[in-house]
Amino acid sequence: MTIHLSIILWLPLAFGLVALVAPGRLARWISLLGALLVLAYTITLLADYDHAAGGLQYVTDVLWIRSLGIHYALAVSGLNLVLLATTSVVFTASAIWSLVAQPDGLRPGLYALLMGLAQSAVLGAFMAQDLALFVIFFDLMLVPFYFLIVIWGGPDRTSAVLRLFLYTLVGSLLMLVGAITTGVLAAHDGEPSFLLADLAKTPLGSSAQGWIFLGFALAFLIKMPAFPFHGWMPGGYSNMPIAVLAVFTAILSKVAAYGFLQIALPLFPDAAVRYQELIMIVAVASILYGSAMAFTVTSARLILGYSSIAQLGFIVLGIFAFDNRGADGALLQATNHAIVAGALIFVVAMLAARSGGSEEITDMGGIAKGAPAFAAVFLVLSFALLAMPGTANFIAEFMILLGTFESKLVYALIASIGVALAAFYALRLYVTSMHHRVGAKVKSFELTGREALVIVPLLLIVIALAIFPQFSLSPAEDGTSQALRATQQAQSAQTLAAARADRGTR
């Protein structure tokens, strides 16, 4: 069986369009069918991908805009293989949720279309092998979310969406300018090419790399979000519909992390080495700040939001250790956190359903009574969030710390404080909502069949990843070693130069 990436890429959008014209309730079913088909297709991809060979596979490469050298180039590699599957899983869960939990939502057709567009854009950003194409898909991701928030969002959606837009637009513009400059500067004899492979062959001069790298880094850090660029997060998270938020927090942040590995490190290795410490400081600050906020705020959503900041901090730390183990751990963490965070967002909705609609943990309490299965699910997910040894998150953080340990000991030591804080905020969320005396508005009930339909598959994936982390680690090994090669060379070259200069002065 041959696999065409274009089919995977456009399938969600196609089903979204069909759902748009389909009548009322059918739209959600069509949307779900589309998500399931993409899921099936990515699973086939997982099975079919040649792990032994590694590298780019199923390459689609068509010259799209000749005069600009922009290619419609898609491929699957060890870097994005598992992330593609993760994306499909989370979108499927979201589609199931919107089918079973919001059956009477507004304009289901339009909703399905926008979700389809979002999925296509995310898949495109993951698979793009052309810088311009990546930038297009990266920016395209924002469009459906704008409408999803504006139409279906919470009470404060206008200012939330404005903030989200302003922030990400700044990043996107810088990235766009950086991408264009890269293409122009790297052009051969006036023949520009935006293919990543071509760009990586002719690295830019060190000074040009510097500010372009910073532009890209800023765009990615805003998208994650990382401290201190997270100003859009509280408003944005509070006002998204649950099914949208699950996708947003699970997947979009990972696109940004993936961008570092796929774009920033291979194309701008010298700059990456130069700004390594800066980005690591941002990562560690995100870990500490996110954790500190997560055990201070009282909204269950925001606890998860700030915990995401901390977790993404770990991912960035792992990537910028420039160590294969760190990057492998970061990719594992990206997959694991996507599933865990997505599942926990649904758990927040389930908590709210049991506490009179409030998502404030101060209104909850005693929900475990009468809901042992729900409590067990929530507890396992909380453990997965706090990097309990035995979960994939632990293995990921172990490897991230290991990678960081080898290169930057101090950062690893400081970051490990974040692990302790994670235990505290994750348990605080669990204990205040599930334990203690029953809250005034709380009416607890057992996990319903519909809820189980969404949460149990995600839980099983979390457990499977915990037992078999190699599933993500083994393809990642090939991908990250490719992604890090340029940077590692630049690093050793700079070390060598520094050593030589040192000897010269002596």
Binding site: G231, T296, K369, A373, G390, V419, A420, R437, V438
Partner: protein, 680 residues
Amino acid sequence: MSLPLSAWLVLAFPLAGTLTIALLGKKLSPRAAGTIGTAAIGIAFIFAVITLVKLQQLPVDQRVVTSSLADLINVAGLKVQLGIYVDPLSTFMILIVAGVSTLIHLYSAGYMQTDQGYVRYFAYLNFFVFSMLLLVLAGNLVLLIVGWAFVGAASYMLISYWYRRDTAAAAGIKAFVINVIGDISLVLGTLFIFKTMGVVDYTQLFAGVHSAFAKDEPELVIGMLLILVGAFAKSAQIPFHTWLPDAMEGPTPVSALIHAATMVTAGVYLIGRLHTLFEWAPTAAAVGAIVGALTLLIAGSIGLVMTDLKRVIAYSTMSQIGYMIMGVSAAAYVGGFFHLMTHAFFKALLFMAAGSIISAMAGNQSLNNMSGFRKAMPFTFACFLAGGFALSAFPLFSGFFSKDTLLFEVGARGGWYMALYVAGYIGAAFTVLYTWRMIFRAFWGKPCEQATVLEQTGHSFHYPEHTNPHTGNEDDPSTQEVEDTEVGFPGAVHKIAEQTWQMRAAMIPLAVLAVIAGVVQLPFGLTNVLSDFLQPTFADTIVAYHPKNPGLETFGLILSSVIVFVFLTAAYIVWVRRPGSSSAIQARLQPLHTLFANKWYFDDLNSALIVRPVVWIGRWAKDSFERIVVYGAFIGGTSGLVKAGSAAVRAIQNGLLRSYVAVVVGGLSVVLLYFLVRGL
């Protein structure tokens, strides 16, 4: 059956028990859950015995068997296997863990019969035992950390078992967070060692450490110190011990499990397991020994003044674990693990007996309210006495031999170790005092109301309302918070050993063992069962293994006996013959009493140094930083810029048609003028 298979089955049965009980949940009758849970651990114990037999059949120098199911991680030079490591030490541990746990399960099946959450309880309990067995059998440091953390998680679940109690929920979090700090420290220590050696597997670690590091190299010492912190957190050594007394929030059998078989002994096992590395980093080992000695003194002193029966036993555990940590850190391996074994027996027994008394007191745990249970509860009394004699190291009881072996081995090293030796004997005096204070106050004297009711009616006493003994004044239930009994708690019927066969069946073997277990390792080489058995594990020790020094040994035995007799008599005088003299002593030593009663202020210290600053930072981040910098500077700055720009544009759009025209005409004129001027 091969040896690895039987060892794997030791792990498999508790896990299967956990999953069966958890997945069947409410479909199981409480009786079935108890049976499945007990049977799972019991079968694990049988396989542990089979493992022991198989291991003993191997030649002495081949008594290390490893087995791996699959690779957990195998990437970029990091290889971690899902493997086990079976040698005399781990076999010794699984025998104790599985054996004592089986009895505790059996006891629980009786004790918790009327609790609402009975099924959930056994799922947790089985998971706890599984975690501990995993920790013990793990074949590498990463898997050890997994088991280590599972133990922490299971203890959290069981401590918070009565989750509607605010105090129980808080105690659970405290235990978990301190344990996580230990886990992280353990992880960092592992990373330090991995950084140099590149392996996490025990076999490779033990074989390679001498060539990878110089003796006492700073890198290794830091790594081992971090690992020690992990051991301290799990084994409740100062300053990481504050969770242990609070852990008394859990049901009493859980306390027995935490204190006797699982959890707190993990630190001792870890040091013994990694003795090759610790011996190569003597500085770290010395720190471990000193902390153990300090803990045994401080905990013993606190135990003297606590009035909550369970807390006295809890501090006694801390103190005894202090002995073991001191012992194994000072290379007193036989003594350390001997004491671990006897302590598991008599401490489990003491907790079970205490549980029986607390039931008879209808949940009230204060020693101030207990007295005269001697006649009302003869069986419990007998068991408590057996445990008490063993704990206080009364001659010929098991604790006597184990504690003396431990202290003798420490003392035999001479030098500064003699200070530890002395500390151990001072601690022994404390032990005698707090043990017999507890026994004399609970069983002697004029029977209290509860004891009278039990003695006369044959039914245990009930308060009209169930209250939380950890709130209000512990002596006066009317000041305490009324319990939310819907969720559980030993319900209307309190189970005592005299009336529940499961509890008796669990306590009898332990009582026998507490009395006679000393025979496995008698002084002067009379019996050497234990030291011969453990010898293969410690074959690579660079310190003398179980040294011989009959003079010191004799001196120790005599000193120990004298201490027991003198302080037992003193306790008898103070608490039985002249009741009231204890308050006179307390009045005379008021500052000391205050210090002990406030637990040497460790809780306050933790709160001031760690908890409060962290909370403060969090609050500062939320209230100030997030508001001023993130919202003010970033969001305010960006949106301010946009707002200013849009205000300028908006000013032109005034809706006045004629001003629009004027702008157009003006603009056009300027353009025309430009061309005119340029044309000229």
